[in-house]
Amino acid sequence: MDLLEYQAKELFRQQGIPVLPSQRIDRPTELKGLTIPFPVVLKSQVYTSARGKMGGIRFVENTIDAIAAAQAIFHLPIMGKYPKVLLAEAKYNAEREFYIAVALDSATRRPVLLGSQFGGVEVEAKLSKISQVVVTQEFSPYYARRLALKMGLEGKLLSAVTDIVEKMYRLFTERDLDLVEINPLAVSSNQELMALDGKIVVNDAAIGRQPELASLVATIPDQAVPHALTCSINLVEREGNIGVLCNGAGLTMATLDLLQKSKGKAANFVDLGGDYRHCCPPSVLQDRLKQAFDLITQEKSVKVVLVNILGGVASCLQVAEAIAGFLKWQSGQQVPFVVRLAGDQFHSARGLLAAMDVPVFESIDEAVLEAVKRSAAPATQSVSPPHGASQPAQTGNSPLILASA
């Protein structure tokens, strides 16, 4: 999960990485109480890196200008998102701009240090100029020095960059981060360094043992808490009209792919997770299924729910019972279900659900086709079951065309 710039800078400050005096601004009027002397930079706190080009960064000379600029930035969407917070920061005269990062490399399975003398907004165009050092063993400052040398630095700058990289690495490991990036790292005329912008990506799996980061993340407006934290059901919204529930990330992706191939469109989906989550083993599958159905069917655009559960320890019958329980509990207007199951007690499961007009398939392909067919059928006017195998009444006009039958 990404932190916003002002949060990343708070962590930099704690670690002794040089940052400018700054102030978080929640409302334009707060600029009247600004403690930083003008001129000041106002920065939109959004997750997009290219905010400068879009008008999300403004220089101001006095309070009146600052309030007007802040109002403009608060009303300026960047990639469709409005900032909830601005950062007011002292202005800095950079002579040069470096790029420095610490990240995880899955190929070597090691942290990697990255650096370039050509930082700033154009860094992505100069990828070949980025030097890399893989931290193969226990970290020691010589890894940071190796990076500084590879970047082509010497003398005072070599020491200063080494020191910052070392601090970034400490931050990276102490806080279980996926990425720490400073871009640009400004170099002044007297060769002093300043972190002008920063990006931190927190590791979702580790946040449970990082209470300070967890509370920092909780202060971000509109930021979803990662599901690894709570093992709660995670619903992802899409644009279509088929609700999808699967178990396991790979199976979920495969099912969504098949749906799209058959011209079906997911309205949302839930991945219940694989069979090896410590906090929610398959023994609690039935409860989780009910919660997931509830979330999926709350979305009004859902015309059909496609369930694809490949049973492990849980049997097909247990899954079928959870579906049957949900359908009974859900009164009035019911969303039809199409179910694909594999595992023990398949036939009992099919029997149980057939009695409720819910078709159960052994093959994913067939279940997907059936779900797409039903999602394209005109809306049924009936207020209660049966739905299922019988053809729904041809009443309303569906905006969708039958994709495949």
Binding site: A101, L104, I130, F172, A205, Q260, Y276, R277, S283, L310
Partner: protein, 313 residues
Amino acid sequence: MSEIREVRGLGQPLPAMDFAGSRVLVQGIAEPLGALYVPLMQRYGTSIVAGVSPAFGGTEAAGIPVFDLVEQAIEQVGAVDVAVLFVAPYTMLDAALEAMAAGIRQLVLVTEGIPPLDMVRLLREAESTETFVVGPSSPGIIIPDKILLGTHPPYCYQPGSVGIISRSGTLTSEVALELTRAGLGQSIAVGIGGDAIVGSSFQQWLQILEEDEQTEAIVLVGEIGGESEETAARYIAEAIEKPVVAYVAGITAPKGQQIGHAGAIISSRIARIGTEIGSVESKLAAFKRAKVPVADRPSKIPKLVMQALEKRC
């Protein structure tokens, strides 16, 4: 990136068939996942000789003696070949270090949600002790009708000659089920884990299956994100003689959207460098260059495997 590529992998893996008949120790036997899967593994014929769960020493679980410490277990029951770990995420590093210190050289890490920096330390130790590590966030290894080291649902599998290597859990079973229904049994199936930092790689398993006499064809199940499919494709072109068929999940996923697996993010985490790596296009192109046929859906895999086997004869 050339320097990165040259860093050596893990300790030497053993040929696949050496897993069959292994003496197995289960860490986390008294924890929820262990309690659930140990009986399944036992019923499949896996020889579990001891369990470890701190504070449960002296008790029994599913008829298996439980100890507080791995070295204590080995002292009592003798050497073990493989440890399967079901411990809680934040204790995985400690449990694996303990197993390696006690001389166990093959580990299967099942639990999901291990912090990647714990994996960095764990794998550094594994390299220096030449320990073979599968996972984490993995269904482990199954050799149909011989041994289950993990969570693979047995009904999906039958003995045969197709090896499956996958980054997924339930999708591995799905692919096995398609093969089984088409009459194509499996020699071995392994889920290497869906996280960004995992132990054994596609290449290591390709090498194991290339050398395994039982295996005649290989199915590689990949997904978007990371670059392990691209690396595997290059390795197949260079070093693998046996026919390989691939499948990639997530081809319609929106860019940058993560579905469950921490590794399945199209945009590279390394500071947005090389954003084209990890995308569907990149993976499909890599398999095409390596002349590896790619199934566009799981149900097409058996047909492609049969075609690949026929072509070879």
